[in-house]
Symmetry: C2
Subunit: 376 residues, 2 copies
């Protein structure tokens, strides 16, 4: 919790529980965040020991808050291409695709992962915003022949270097032949689960798309228990996306490091935007124009000098010789790298690796340095 006094969270039905919520509570989870109006576990013991455990062992994360948007129907492919500047013409059915979604100004609305089952059936696994409303609004307004809805799918992530052994124990050795960002169906207790080689850490692992209700003893709880049992010898524990590990790894968080003010280019996602389809996707024209102006800022990893920084709840101004040249959006002390690690949006030309900048933390000014790449 980064040393700042942590307030309590009042939980009601509106902050939706998941098929795994009982298991997560039994595991002794101490803190949550709220993501897509759903509980997302953040801290089991403390952020530092959770991070060290993740890097050595294996953890089970209830990431049900990665809600799915199902798009089904004759015009599904047309709709999906319309909402992203990524070229989907060669999309395979056994691969996940990271697809930035932008509005008519080119500003990012979400950065989901898209899974294609066929030309008439897609899932979009979303970051923290009601992308369902955007996609459905467009589909309804254009009277497209599609059904857009949120299916009862709750992703469960198995993350960490020992995740491979644990998953093999449950799903067989085929699971470890999957390339990164591939997706395939596997059986557990005679039910089929889509599994992808993916996850919100750089420690390796999988995401299992669990279709379940929330009743006691549901298939999700059965899977949770089986994974926990298989992971015992690796000291498996419950967990959640770890703030230190994700900042070290340069994993962006929509709402933290990027908002609707930012283009994909600014977020380092330029390779996922293809000018040949700008004419047919929403926001393409705006993106082209903003690209012609050359983009003026970009997300970079930073190190920040001094002892542990306080919690970064609002962006911190970055200056160079008293001129504002950017802002820090995520920052925390990293014991492994013996420095504060951070993600920041930095104006050109100050984003060059090695540039020294001044970060205005709540507890005073600190020296910082732009990194060549992320820490992990």
């Amino acid at each position: 919790m980064n040393k700042a006094p942590a307030p309590l969270l009042s939980i009601t039905r509106r902050l939706r529980s998941t098929p795994f919520s009982r298991k997560v509570a039994e595991a002794g989870i101490q803190a949550y965040t709220v993501y897509n109006r759903m509980l997302l576990p953040t801290v089991l013991k403390d952020v530092v020991s959770d991070c060290q455990h993740l890097k050595k062992n294996v953890q089970l994360w209830d990431v049900s808050c990665e809600r799915q948007i199902a798009i089904e129907g004759k015009e599904a492919a047309t709709l999906v291409q319309k909402i992203t500047p990524r070229n989907l013409s060669n999309q395979r059915t056994d691969r996940c695709m990271y697809i930035p979604i932008v509005d008519d100004t080119g500003g990012m609305l979400n950065d989901p992962v898209c899974i294609k089952f066929s030309d008439t059936h897609y899932w979009i696994s979303i970051a923290d915003s009601d992308l369902l409303f955007w996609i459905k609004g467009i589909a309804v307004a254009l009277k497209l022949d599609v059904k857009v809805y949120e299916p009862p799918i709750y992703p469960l992530a198995v993350q960490g270097p020992k995740s491979f052994a644990v998953m093999e124990n449950i799903f067989g050795s085929e699971i470890n032949k999957m390339p990164f960002f591939s997706a395939k169906f596997f059986k557990f207790k005679n039910e089929s689960f889509l599994i992808s080689r993916s996850g919100y850490s750089k420690q390796g692992g999988f995401e299992i798309y669990v279709q379940s209700d929330k009743k006691e003893g549901n298939i999700g709880e059965q899977l949770w228990d089986a994974l926990m049992e298989a992971g015992k010898k690796f000291d498996i524990r419950a967990g959640g996306p770890n703030y230190i590990e994700r900042v070290e790894s340069g994993l962006l968080s929509y709402g933290n490091d990027m908002t609707s003010d930012n283009t994909p280019d600014e977020c380092g996602l330029q390779h996922f935007c293809d000018e040949t389809i700008f004419a047919e996707c929403i926001g393409g024209t705006a993106l082209k124009k903003r690209r012609e102006d050359k983009f003026q800022q970009q997300i970079k990893s930073l190190s920040i000098d001094g002892g542990a920084v306080p919690a970064c709840r609002d962006p911190w101004v970055i200056t160079k010789e008293d001129k504002v040249v950017g802002q820090v959006s995520s920052a925390i002390w990293s014991p492994d790298f013996n420095t504060n690690v951070a993600l920041a949006m930095i104006h050109q030309p100050y984003w060059q690796a090695g540039t020294t900048l001044t970060v205005h933390c709540p507890d005073g000014e600190r020296q910082s340095t732009v990194c060549e790449k992320s820490f992990n």
Copy 2:
């Protein structure tokens, strides 16, 4: 916090702070919920004493999370009428209007309040969902001549029986001539603030739409301090929507008591849906059809027997002679009414006042009775 062990909330930039966040923290707020990805204070001392204070005194609530959607442009009026089944043909510029928003199936997406400045300028003050995405998606798809965006407006509520005296001290006696649900501009320190006679309690009060940045000493903090000073003699305190008071008052909460599964009719909002405009609004055809089938369930106030119920985090099944006839969505012990008060979606014909039903609480079955109307 209803006696259940409360976990901690991990706060990052994604859970947005407000111009009042510093003041709220200084006031010693203990718990928050997250609403529209923004911090919403819920508990200052404890839910019971906060409730009793609200009913006698006056409280300042940071309800910045009631985000505004601004709709500006030539086709603004067309767009606003398109998204709601409420007839807006007689909408006045000095009145708030509660407008249910439904999707193409007639399911509720939000239950906001609409304020009209002119035929080309509206604000929509939203409940907890990204309604901006829905409205903007429709506007972009239909290429309407409008701009749809979230302006930097942060509502501050002054609630409780002493709110009238406090507001008069700051804004003059004109403020107390405002009828319920009217809206008008008032000055504070030479800046204009839209103020409405409204709020998420039945204890009386106002909502002030504060345009502000988040810098220390911002106009929002100045207004907060002035209100706190004026309210000293009435024992004013910081607070937030109170779970006991709102359930006693039958104030619905989107995400708790109603979701996209429900029509406005089911939520008791049938008077806000006008069949004469069903042909021109999204979801009108579906609503008409669902209405012809007669609606099968409706939200009602309930009393639940026995001592204090546990926290209602997932809906509780309601049965009558072993047949499922509904679910409780919100419930808490009310010291003032010496019973558990609840809101529940109940199937017909079991929604008649006086009907006794069985509620399946996590700690066992309880008798309950359907109420004629809300408690407050």
